[in-house]
Amino acid sequence: MKGPDIVSLNVEVPVPAPGEDLTPRPLLEVSGLTVSYPSATGPVEIVSGFDLTVARGERVALVGESGSGKSVTARALLRLDHRASVSGQVRLDGTDLLALDDREMRAQRGRRIGLMLQDPMTTLNPVRSIGSQVMESLRVHGVGKTEARKRAVETLDRLGIPDAERRMRAYPHEFSGGMRQRVCLAMAIVAHPDLLIADEPTTALDVRVQEQVLSLIDSLVTELGMGVVLITHDLGLVAGFADRVAVMYAGRGVECGPVGELYRSPRHPYTSGLLASVPRVDRDGALAPIAGSPAQPTSRPGGCAFHPRCARAEADCTEDRPDPRRIGTADVACHHPLVLAGEGNR
């Protein structure tokens, strides 16, 4: 595989070592992401050493409960919070976003990374027309007014807003919840970003509208080859949408793997607990809840943060924090993961 012409094409291409996999460099590479916020009692670490990769055209779900740090992660990737101190590495197509200055970072937002938030009522400006808000992310990147307008109409039309040309002049209050969420999606993707981060994009919506919005995102991934990070607490949603799932607990990734394997044989007790506590419309049976409540950022237990709620916890869980390791197809941070028969616990 080692050929001189490959090296001459791009000096940055690493020469693969024997046995190393030859998949192309991922679109997004997050490693060791740590985010902390100031508080009255000193900085509080919300996200600690989080890793994530997203390839082009890949749908990755980031699953977690309140206080797990999933939304803080999304905001940190776009460097939206000036109060947050962010460390680690966030590489988008090789560019380290955390090393950019503010002006360079602005060039990335909207154009390279689109962000879609949960609540369209707070995302949209109530006193500006839909059109001007969708055009904004093109206009700030230097697209002319006529061209921006044309592309905004195209995008709204593509997302199923009837009579898009005329609706450009409408205001958010004239739209229903589902339509507003489509406008938010239009704002996020109008500049054709490489990566879309969608933070609980359908939580405020009814199931039927939720399905429509998700299949829109899904078709955009296929059409534009975007990578998507879908942030959610809803495991049902993830199953039908994502290629890969990353589960977060108390600011850390606890399990990350392909969606099929993760649902069929979850390795981390937290993942398996989450799956067992969701009622399913397709089958009966008692729910098996996880004891206790999610750890709060200000009082996270030492060792493995999940140990007070974990049925498999032993003495080492209270002291040593488990590092992620590969089990089957997943990366799992657990001392005592659930393993299949004959697999062994390495």
């Binding site: 399905e211 607490h233 039908g240 809840p289």
Partner: protein, 280 residues
């Protein structure tokens, strides 16, 4: 879920109607809604936002005045009933609200919150008796006497909902009316509260009216289900029938949109639905 023996309904609604808005633009939020719940039965009311499910509940418990229709308690219409019946209704029909962050008074201790109903209905002979009853129901919901003097702010969402359930149970109700009692909670905590509700319902033989938008949860919890759309009941019946053989188009579309937490099944189902749309 096995269906309890259907006895005389303890709670019945007949032709409830409630409109909002001015004379020019009125919306019928609840339009001729009737249902009944037998002791020990759980009725789920489902529908999307704006379907009138919460307004229906509020009309039943008297938080909202219905324009037409009536509510019967133990077979007796509430309007025109004597004071004793009305008082009994207010004691024996208790409510659990959606958001435990706003339904508990932040300036009251747990003992005051859970014990308030005992005072109102003059059910405690002495302060000791009142405290004993408060501790008893707190233990029923998995808390204990150590929380008596604490304020709501020091509890997590799941614990707050336990306190809200304890408050409802303190006065010995026969009917529990729940409006989305777990939708504000974390996924891992929802199951705890659902199991607690089920356990209480079985242990105390309560009738439950349960409003939710989560159809999977309703199927899991309820014996009967009533599907509402724009204020109207479009379908009702035993859960197993409605979920497995939905008759109304609206019910079918709701059911088809519920995600199933199983990648293979969910994908297969979506592919089938897409193929059906193409051929249609």
């Amino acid at each position: 879920m096995t269906h309890p023996t259907t006895g005389t309904p303890i709670l019945e609604a007949q032709g409830l109607t409630r409109s909002f808005g001015s004379r020019r633009t009125t919306t019928r939020a609840v339009d001729d809604v009737s249902f009944s719940v037998a002791p020990g039965a759980i009725l789920g009311i489902v529908g999307e936002s704006g379907s009138g499910k919460s307004t229906t509940l509020r009309c039943v418990v008297g938080l909202e005045r219905a324009d037409a229709g009536r509510v019967l308690f133990d077979g007796v219409p509430l309007v025109g009933a004597n004071r004793e019946t009305q008082r009994r209704f207010r004691r024996e029909v208790q409510m659990v609200f959606q958001d435990p962050y706003s339904s508990l008074n932040p300036r009251m201790t747990v003992e005051m919150i859970v014990g308030e109903g005992l005072d109102i209905h003059k059910m405690a002979e002495s302060r000791q008796a009142r405290r004993a009853r408060v501790v008893e129901v707190l233990e029923l919901v998995g808390l204990d006497a150590t929380v008596l003097d604490r304020y709501p702010r020091s509890f997590s969402g799941g614990q707050r909902q336990r306190i809200a359930i304890a408050r409802a149970l303190a006065v010995g109700p026969r009917v529990l009316v729940c409006d989305e009692p777990v939708s504000a909670l974390d996924v891992s905590v929802q199951a705890q509260v659902v199991n607690l509700l089920l356990e209480m319902q079985q242990q105390l033989g309560l009738a439950v009216v349960f409003v939710a938008h989560d159809l999977a949860l309703v199927r899991h919890l309820c014996h009967d289900v009533m599907v509402m759309q724009r204020g109207v009941v479009v379908e009702n019946g035993p859960c197993a029938d409605v979920f497995d053989r939905p008759q109304h188009e609206y019910t079918k579309s709701l059911l088809a949109a519920i995600p199933i937490p199983d990648p293979d099944r969910d994908r297969a189902r979506r592919a089938a639905a897409a193929a059906e749309r193409r051929s249609a």
